[in-house]
């Protein structure tokens, strides 16, 4: 190499380094605290993947513009193992070590409660998918939920199931023995009772359980017409369904947190057929937007699992955050959190808003459709899609 060439190469490397340094100063880190191992791993891994897709897309389109300055997003994700103990570690890592000011995805009421205890007093804004009602309200002004929870799902799901199975009069409920399970169980009991269905038994299992035969035997004890598997993730629910099949139970199966048929059918086999799910959607059909169809294809290629509402929620929170940053012209989480409930913004579903003040005393719930699906011949079939009334009214008013 000649001396002139060496100078050119040195200059090129130096300018590349300075370019990178300049950009490194304008990066906004977006955190994720979700299970990335164990029975619920596919939820967390998918959530991380969609958040990265949103961040990359926004960065390619020029980033976020605030006060005339351009910012790029970078996603930092940690495995909270669905436990409060790991959730605490993740919170410390994200907030104290990585200095993250925005968390765009969180799963699990217990780990999220641990995260929230630090995020609210550290001025960190969080978007979560935890199912507990206790994580929302005016006392948590920096917390937002970007996917449906039992308060949005259970009532329409149970009504639909009963309309399809009018002879069903009794139900046995199973939930994980943790914060998510405890909160959902209360809502489920009330919702079934309100519809005239008698709750025969409400049962609990520990996350990490490996032998589900006793659980299945207990569930079928009083011969219920319906078995509601509550917050059991697909891997656990699949084994329970398989064991129910071995025992010869042939009732109505409901999995409110059922996010896809793939894992459920892979594990539960034929016993998974007929299961009603409240947390899945057919993102390959014409009902889905083009963005969701592309994300769905990416998920299938990456994880061999179709996209589900839980995973797509972090994509939506990244876009909600971008919109609120630009609308408030600030990267201060408090200013962004203040403007967010007042605005209409774009998500993978199209335009939406934050609302549900009547339920949570504060408009912190993203308004997205409730999709009721069923496992048929090992595949998921979308039965109906319900648009929230509040969303319809707010969008009409905005027009």
């Amino acid at each position: 190499m000649t001396n002139l060439k060496k100078i050119y190469v040195t200059l090129a490397l130096a300018s590349l380094a300075s370019f990178n340094t300049a950009h490194a100063q304008e990066i906004i880190k977006l955190g994720i605290s979700a299970p990335m191992s164990g029975a619920a791993a596919v939820w967390g891994l998918g959530m991380e993947w969609t958040a990265k897709q949103a961040a990359e897309k926004i960065n390619l389109e020029g980033g976020v513009t605030v006060g005339g300055k351009k910012y790029n997003f970078a996603v930092v994700a940690y495995d909270n193992k669905y436990t409060a103990a790991e959730g605490t570690k993740v919170a410390q890592n994200l907030i104290n070590r990585d200095k993250v000011k925005f968390i765009v995805g969180g799963i699990g009421t217990a780990p999220i409660s641990a995260l929230q205890s630090l995020s609210e007093r550290s001025g960190v804004m969080i978007f979560i998918s935890a199912w507990g009602k206790s994580v929302k309200g005016p006392q948590f002004p920096l917390t937002f939920t970007q996917s449906n929870t039992p308060f949005e799902i259970l009532d329409p799901l149970y009504k639909y199931v009963l309309a399809q199975n009018p002879k069903a009069k009794t139900v046995a409920i199973l939930n994980a023995n943790d914060a998510s399970g405890k909160e959902v169980e209360l809502v489920a009991q009330k919702a079934w009772a309100a519809l005239g269905v008698k709750v025969l038994s409400s049962n609990w299992y520990e996350r990490g359980t490996t032998q589900f035969q006793p659980v299945a035997a207990k569930l079928t004890e009083q011969k219920p017409d319906i078995i509601d598997l509550g917050v059991a993730p697909p891997a656990d629910a699949g084994i329970v369904l398989k064991e129910l099949g071995v025992l010869g139970w042939k009732g109505v199966k409901v999995l409110p947190v059922g996010t896809s048929a793939t894992q459920l059918a892979q594990i539960g086999g034929a016993a998974a057929n007929g299961t009603y799910m409240g947390y899945a959607g057919d993102y390959s059909s014409s009902l889905a937007t083009p963005v969701q169809q592309i994300l769905n294809q990416g998920m299938l290629a990456q994880f061999k699992e179709p996209l589900n509402p839980l995973q797509v929620s972090s994509y939506d929170s990244v876009y909600a955050l971008k919109a609120a940053m630009e609308a408030s012209n600030s990267i201060d989480p408090k200013k962004i959190a203040a403007i967010l409930p007042t605005m209409v913004f774009e998500t993978s579903y199209g335009k939406t808003v934050f609302g549900s003040k009547a339920i949570y005393d504060s408009p912190q719930q993203m308004q997205v459709p409730v999709m009721i699906t069923q496992v048929q011949d090992g595949k998921m079939v979308e039965l109906t899609r319900i648009i929230p009334e509040e969303l319809k009214a707010r969008l009409a008013a905005a027009k």
């Binding site: 609990w204 490996t210 035969q213 035997a217 010869g248 086999g269």
Partner: protein, 291 residues
């Protein structure tokens, strides 16, 4: 009557899994006085390797049973090699050192779990059933596959008991477990016996993993899920005692099955810990513990 049959079958299949797992744990403790928290990782390694190899091997020209057999054999051998490596470069230096071996095995467990997550990912995997169909026995229902695997597991446990009770190697293992210095004075090579004990324990974890591969959901932390129950079993039965680990495993399987049915699956788990505490209070060495 039907429900008693079902509870019996549930207890039988659960206890078979726990017996295989806890036998290895108790053997390592007996021979080396090492509480091996990384034992679950040997079990997990076999499952994860089988989860990779079975879909790779299984195609129209290779029947599923052959794929399982080949994958099981390769995975068990790989796990044994891993056990030999860990014994030579780690556990050998911490024999009869409870604190040192505790720190070592917990550290190794975390490290190996991290490596599993990195190499195998966190998504749970369920392999196809090896044997289709259900059976009704004593009014209860069980899958044919579970019944066959349970019988094989019990056969392995019986063979293990025979090996310990009636062979020269078994006598050496028992002698070392009872008093390693006296055993050495009698001409028993302690280090070699300890290595054999460690490898047999690794083999038991590996065979447990291979047998449970078609019926369990496989993930990077599957070993630690079984480890807790395995520890409860050997603490109740008596650390280092082979019959104790079998009794402990049967006891927790019955609590899980019967307690889970008559009370609540979650309460049954709680009951296991309460019984462990009671056993430790009344008989600190466990039911069959001595020394």
């Amino acid at each position: 009557m039907e429900i008693f049959g079902q509870l019996f079958l549930n207890s039988l299949q659960i206890s078979a899994a726990y017996i295989l797992f806890s036998l290895g744990l108790t053997l390592i403790f007996g021979v080396m006085k090492v509480v091996n928290f990384a034992h679950g990782e040997f079990f997990g390694l076999v499952l994860l390797l089988i989860a990779v190899l079975v879909p790779w091997l299984n195609n129209p020209s290779v029947p599923l049973a052959v794929a399982y057999g080949a994958a099981g054999a390769v995975s068990i051998l790989a796990t044994m090699a891993c056990g030999w490596f860990l014994y030579h470069f780690a556990f050998k230096k911490f024999q009869r050192d409870m604190v040192g071996s505790f720190v070592l095995s917990v550290g190794l467990s975390l490290l190996i779990q991290g490596l599993f997550l990195e190499f195998f990912g966190g998504v749970p995997i369920k392999l196809p059933d090896l044997i289709e169909g259900n059976l009704r026995i004593l009014g209860g229902a069980i899958t044919t596959q579970r019944l066959v695997l349970t019988l094989i597991a019990l056969l392995v446990a019986v063979t293990m008991c025979w090996l310990i009770a009636a062979t020269k190697l078994g006598k050496s293992l028992r002698a070392v477990a009872e008093d390693h210095e006296a055993a050495m004075l009698q001409g028993i090579p302690y280090r070699k016996t300890a290595l054999y004990g460690f490898l047999i324990a690794t083999f038991l974890a590996a065979i447990a993993g291979a047998l449970l591969a078609p019926v369990t959901v496989i993930s990077a932390n599957v070993g630690s899920d079984f480890l807790i129950k395995g520890f409860i079993a050997i603490v109740i039965g008596g650390l280092g005692s082979i019959p104790g680990s079998i009794i402990g495993s049967i006891l927790i399987a019955v609590i899980e099955s019967v307690g889970g049915y008559y009370f609540d699956p979650s309460l049954a788990t709680l009951a296991m810990f309460v019984i462990t505490m009671l056993v430790l209070l009344v008989r600190p060495k466990g039911i069959m513990g001595n020394g």
